[in-house]
């Protein structure tokens, strides 16, 4: 618990996020790195752009000042890589929605499970927080 008057140190605040296993918190650094990747994904909110994207994905990406790594990660639908390169899941959702994937199916591709395995885990109560809270603490 943080007392209401206690001022947060911004460096400590951000550094603590790296201790959470299997999670990329969408910090300013990621937001800057992923700016055009996310803005590209956002462009898929209109039917015309979705058609153009589906017709030729690689060509569509030529119009966006993204890094080659970002372009390849999107073309490969490697969403963990997209997160590493500054993507945010709510923006990337425009890509997997255009692909006709549900949120659950797209999300499952970022785990080490198949979609049926992931679905089964969710139906049984989801992933336990036990051992998944802290890398250093191991709890």
């Amino acid at each position: 618990m943080t007392a209401p008057t206690e001022r947060q140190n911004i460096h400590d605040y951000i550094a603590a996020f790296d201790d959470i296993p299997g999670t990329r918190v969408f910090t300013a650094a990621r937001a800057r790195k992923g700016y055009w990747l996310n803005q590209f994904a956002m462009s898929l909110m209109t039917p015309e752009n979705r058609e153009a994207w589906k017709a030729d994905e690689r060509k569509y990406l030529e119009n966006w000042p993204m890094s080659d790594d970002q372009k390849e990660a999107i073309l490969a639908r490697d969403y963990n890589r997209c997160l590493d390169l500054g993507g945010n899941v709510y923006f990337l959702a425009k890509v997997f929605s255009t692909d006709g994937l549900s949120f659950a199916e797209a999300v499952s591709t970022m785990t080490d499970m198949t979609f049926p395995e992931y679905r089964e885990m969710m139906n049984k109560g989801g992933r336990s927080p036990q051992g998944n809270r802290s890398i250093k603490g191991g709890y």
């Binding site: 618990m1 605040y13 996020f17 296993p21 918190v25 969408f26 969710m122 927080p129």
Partner: protein
């Protein structure tokens, strides 16, 4: 005088909107989720609120990376359902209450909450799913809405304490609106869920229920939960629960629980729902 008569909290999972739109709310998967909202639907019909202040987050629909307001208030006349990548949901437009919206915006700014004012935007599942859960499928939504959008996507998001204090300031603003209006405040999003990375799928029934407990009665302990705790315990998207604190803050010192519902899972998410009444 306008008055806040109740607070409602609810998850806003997009799949719930799909279930409503495709008529699946009674099937084996969705039935138990929607059953927990039947009480509230009947209660809303009795209560007939004039306006809902709907605290929600935009999921890269109205706001992209160009502009990221921490707290934004809708002062427009109406809002359309956003195209989130699969076409807009077939739901009625959301009618705003521009007079109340502007009044709250002005009051909040004088109260030192530096709000962003929105006159035009589309609204996504963050807003339309809670409306569907509480009102079903009417031809026209039975309430006007003042949207209150909170950034819970790009860090740092506002602290729980700040969200609670914003709720307190909203209550003061509503009380000073001269028209006689029955106003509810809804906090949406949550509960535990993580939509990204190898830890995706994390749910935490125990923590979620502890959080629900904290919003009932006269405790204000929830306002001091740090972001790191939400992230560790409830997954990266569990942070949406800070929006419930705006609702709780607006209800004053003490609340009474009228209805409570919790269900795991809906897609990647734990469903939580509360109906609260201010008691003083």
């Amino acid at each position: 005088m306008a008055r806040i008569t109740a607070g409602v909290a609810s998850s806003h999972v997009p799949l719930l909107g799909v279930a409503v739109d495709q008529g699946k709310t009674g099937d084996d998967y969705f039935g138990p989720i929607f059953a927990g909202y039947e009480w509230t639907k009947a209660w809303e019909k009795e209560e007939k609120p004039d306006v809902v202040i709907l605290v929600y987050n935009d999921h890269a629909s109205a706001f992209d990376m160009k502009i990221i307001p921490t707290f934004a208030i809708g002062c427009g006349e109406r809002y359309k359902s956003a195209d989130e990548g699969w076409g807009p949901r077939p739901v009625p437009d959301v009618e705003g209450h521009a007079d109340l919206g502007w009044h709250i915006a002005q009051s909040l700014i004088l109260d030192e909450f530096d709000m962003t004012i929105i006159n035009e935007m589309d609204v996504d599942h963050g807003m339309t799913v809670p409306l569907s859960m509480m009102f079903g499928q009417p031809e026209k939504w039975p309430v006007k809405v003042v949207p209150l959008a909170v950034n819970v996507v790009t860090y740092p998001v506002p602290s729980g304490n700040r969200c609670w204090a914003l709720g307190e300031a909203i209550a003061r603003a509503v009380e000073s609106f001269p028209e006689d209006l029955n106003v509810q405040i809804w906090g949406t999003g949550g509960m535990s869920h993580q939509l990204q990375g190898p830890r995706a799928g994390l749910l935490n029934r125990e923590w979620d229920n502890k959080f629900l407990d904290m919003l009932i009665g006269d405790s204000d302990a929830a306002r001091f939960i740090p972001h790191l705790e939400y992230l560790r315990e409830t997954g990266s998207e569990g942070i949406e629960m800070v929006m419930w604190l705006v609702m709780r803050g607006a209800l004053g010192k003490k609340t009474k629980c009228l209805h409570r519902h919790y269900h795991i899972p809906c897609s990647n998410t734990a469903i939580g729902h509360l109906v609260l009444e201010p008691t003083e």
